[in-house]
């Protein structure tokens, strides 16, 4: 019988709700929660020997430590497979499922599997390296996702060839693979044309990727009277991170008042970005959000005025769809505040 370790968060691991989200990684014998249903699907072929449980916040806030502990637990058990979730559309949990699967796969070279809602940031991040079964948006779809997970888990355990996403139920990994067809390309093309002419549904073989070409705005004509804003995806926020912007895959952005401030000092500002060495930004937050330089130029009359707030988010594995939404909202806010230009700093 092949041995599987299952990864769950504090909720599905039956520790408790959000109040237990700081739970450090622990291990329990046998299947728990969704693992029980999964075990029944694996029948006699495989056994969930243990379940690792970690709180969502603990994983998000202490990813390195959490991962280290989880990998150590796996190392003790040496299973033949790791299954995580399903994480549905839970952001922190989904990221944890993907991260754990990816790390286990690369460290132990064993098959891994999770199940997430396709728009879960964890799916976007890890679909290329981890088989992620397409899960419904919430746990109400638990019964729906389980059979596909069980089936794919067994195939992976047996080392069988994995079919295409439509057949196996996983989220497309984004690889275009050559396959032989019954009809030649010309006949398929004429078939498609006839359908298109008749107004019947057809499926293109190559959806056009969207090239997101941003046309730069024309240069400012009157810099002397321009109101300019600072925007950063480098995660510079007031100490304490009042809006709780996440360190990765941020779900929001903040707007912070800098009226009368000459520069950002380390006692009042910090970075919450989880994707770069924070030491230098922590020492001097102006390195990421150059308020000091902007004030100097402002004093010299280099431009009209600096807008008295700045916009900040964390551009670390942030889904493009989210980033686009932030940009649209920030742009609207800038228009309302009659700002003519912005300087965007990344990391």
């Amino acid at each position: 019988m092949k041995e599987i370790v299952h990864y769950l968060n504090q909720f599905y691991g039956q520790i408790g709700g959000e109040e237990f989200a700081d739970q450090t990684p622990i291990i329990r014998d046998g299947p728990i929660g969704p693992g029980v249903a999964l075990q029944s699907l694996l029948a006699e072929e495989a056994q969930i020997t243990s379940t690792i449980i970690c709180g969502d916040n603990y994983f998000a806030d202490h990813q390195d430590e959490a991962l280290e502990k989880i990998l150590a637990l796996i190392d003790e058990k040496r299973p033949e497979m790791l299954i995580a979730g399903p994480g549905f559309n839970a952001g922190r949990y989904g990221l944890a499922c993907g991260t754990v699967c990816d790390a286990v796969k690369s460290k132990f070279s064993i098959p891994v599997l999770t199940a997430l809602y396709p728009e879960n940031p964890g799916a976007e991040m890890f679909k290329k390296t981890v088989y992620i079964v397409k899960a419904p948006i919430s746990a109400a779809g638990m019964k729906k996702v389980m059979p596909a997970m069980g089936k794919l888990a067994l195939k992976l355990l047996r080392g069988e060839e994995i079919g295409f996403p439509e057949e196996e139920g996983y989220i497309p990994q984004g690889f275009r693979i050559n396959v032989h067809t019954e009809k030649n390309g010309a006949e398929r093309g004429v078939d498609m044309l006839i359908k298109k002419l008749r107004g019947e549904p057809f499926t293109t073989e190559l959806p056009m990727p969207v090239f997101d070409r941003v046309v730069p705005a024309p240069a400012l004509k009157d810099l002397a009277h321009a109101k300019i804003a600072l925007i950063t995806s480098g995660g510079i926020v007031p100490q304490g991170n009042p809006d709780h912007i996440e360190s990765a895959n941020a779900s929001l952005y903040g707007i912070y008042d800098i009226t009368g401030l000459d520069n950002l000092t380390a006692d009042k500002y910090m970075t919450v970005h989880g994707g770069y060495d924070p030491v230098y930004a922590t020492e001097d937050p102006n390195r990421v959000l150059p308020l000091d330089a902007m004030r100097a130029i402002e004093r010299e009359g280099g431009f009209g005025e600096l807008y008295n707030h700045y916009y900040a988010t964390v551009g670390n594995t942030t889904a493009v769809s989210n980033a686009k939404r932030y940009a649209e909202e920030i742009a609207q806010d800038m228009l309302r505040n009659q700002i003519q230009a912005a300087i965007l700093t990344s990391t």
Binding site: F175, R176, N178, H180, N184, G185, V190, L206, M208
Partner: protein, 439 residues
């Protein structure tokens, strides 16, 4: 007084007399009997050596399933010869410039010519007759005569290319001519009315044209119509039956995986399929040649004028095939956009270069109107082809051709290449049976 001559022939008719070739053998005298094509090397060599740019020529034969690799290959041509009708096959080369596309044409099936010899440029390809490589094209299932052409010393590359191109066409014509006195194994007749006639005949069928994009970007990238280089032509209209008689000839290699060889033109699968459905599911008006220059202004001119011709003809829809990749994607997308903007529905036929793992963006240009696209595969797929017992040509060239690299030739005789190196693997006329799927 009768103003209309009702007896005037309004329909073009071309009959393909098909002969299945079971084998090619060298013999004392050239002939074709019981499906066996016998070739007198000396006689054929003497015919080809009429071109004073050829210093010497030898021939080799590759058969389906044999452990044989041919490299480098410039063009692949199907043997055809006209038995009746106006003009002769490959007008401008074998035939004079008289219009072709009617009468009877003898065709040797399961048989082709693959021109080889000293390499002209790195856009030359590979055919493997067995193993993994054989799965990527139809040529591996054919009996192949390979002329190995050695040009005279000091020949310039353009003349070298033309010499080999013409020798290939002459070889193909020579072979099919041997069948003239014989009864074919199979006959297929295509009929195609004049445009006004078909408009009256099929008022309720959608009017469709085929836009055949042909490359004209210089050495190993040129295409010829009735012997004329398409470089500099304004988009033009040509009858589909003319193409089947070799009116379009490839001087072109692009990447071997997605160049349109002469055999692809002769058997243009889009034309063949449209002809077979003509009068039933659609009304196939004709073929528009839209050239692919390297210059943006010329790309614009070609696409604008092709869309103008489409509008003059009053068509409802079209299939557009690309040749090559990279900058020709701009021609493809411009043709798509300009036609869709005129309300003419388009289907595009292309291939992709989306990296060895298939994860990258596979086209160099896109347009949102391109909502109906056929892909014939990812040319970046990396394959290790097994050792072959015999190589026709020069295996060393595999290191320099498209899809190959300095380390392509393994010590064990294997050949590691991207399938772009395999002749016709991702043919953008949809000649083969391959596509990509997202996983």
């Amino acid at each position: 007084m009768e103003l209309i001559d009702k007896t005037k022939e309004e329909t073009m008719k071309l009959t393909l007399n098909k002969f299945h070739v079971k084998d090619i053998r060298f013999a004392e005298q050239s002939s074709f009997a019981n499906g066996i094509l016998y070739i007198d090397k000396k006689d054929l060599a003497a015919y080809l050596m009429e071109d004073s740019n050829i210093q010497s020529v030898d021939f080799d034969i590759a058969r389906p399933g044999e452990s044989v690799r041919i490299v480098p290959i410039k063009d692949v041509i199907q043997p055809r010869y006209k038995k009746s009708g106006s003009g002769q096959i490959f007008p401008g080369y074998v035939g004079d410039v008289e219009t072709v596309g009617n009468g009877e044409t003898n065709v040797l099936e399961e048989c082709c010519v693959a021109t080889s010899g000293k390499i002209v440029a790195f856009q030359e390809g590979i055919i493997d007759m067995c193993g993994l490589g054989a799965e990527f094209n139809s040529f591996s299932k054919m009996n192949i005569l390979v002329p190995l052409i050695q040009p005279i010393d000091g020949i310039d590359k353009h003349t070298h290319e033309a010499t080999v191109r013409i020798a290939g066409l002459k070889t193909a014509a020579y072979m099919a001519k041997l069948s003239l006195a014989l009864a074919p194994d199979e006959v297929e007749t295509f009929e195609h009315e004049s445009i006004l006639e078909m408009g009256a005949k099929y008022p309720d069928l959608p009017k469709v044209v085929y836009v055949d994009m042909v490359q004209c970007q210089g050495l190993m990238h040129d295409t010829y119509i009735y012997g004329l280089n398409v470089k500099g032509i304004l988009s033009t209209l040509i009858g589909p039956l003319e193409v089947l008689d070799g009116a379009i000839v490839s001087g072109n290699c692009a990447a071997p995986g997605h160049k349109n060889a002469t055999i692809h033109h002769e058997n243009n699968p889009i034309i063949m399929d449209l002809l077979r459905r003509h009068g039933k599911e659609l009304c196939f008006v004709g073929v528009l040649l839209s050239n692919e220059s390297a210059m943006l202004k010329e790309k614009m001119r070609a696409a604008y004028y092709t869309s103008n011709l489409s509008a003059l003809l009053g068509v409802d829809g079209m299939i557009i095939s690309e040749e090559g990749g990279g900058n020709p994607e701009t021609d493809l997308m411009l043709n798509c956009r300009f036609h869709e903007q005129r309300g003419i529905k388009t289907v595009l036929v292309t291939d992709e270069y989306c990296g060895r793992d298939g994860a990258s963006q596979g086209l160099a240009d896109v347009t949102p109107e391109a909502d109906a696209v056929i892909t014939n595969g990812n040319g970046n797929q990396f394959v290790v082809l097994p050792k072959m017992d015999r190589v026709i040509g020069d295996i060393e060239t595999a290191r320099v051709i498209t899809g190959g690299n300095a380390n392509s030739i393994g010590a064990d005789g294997t050949l590691s290449v991207e399938i772009a190196a395999i002749m016709g693997s991702c043919c953008e006329m949809g000649y083969e049976r391959m596509t990509t799927r997202l996983r």
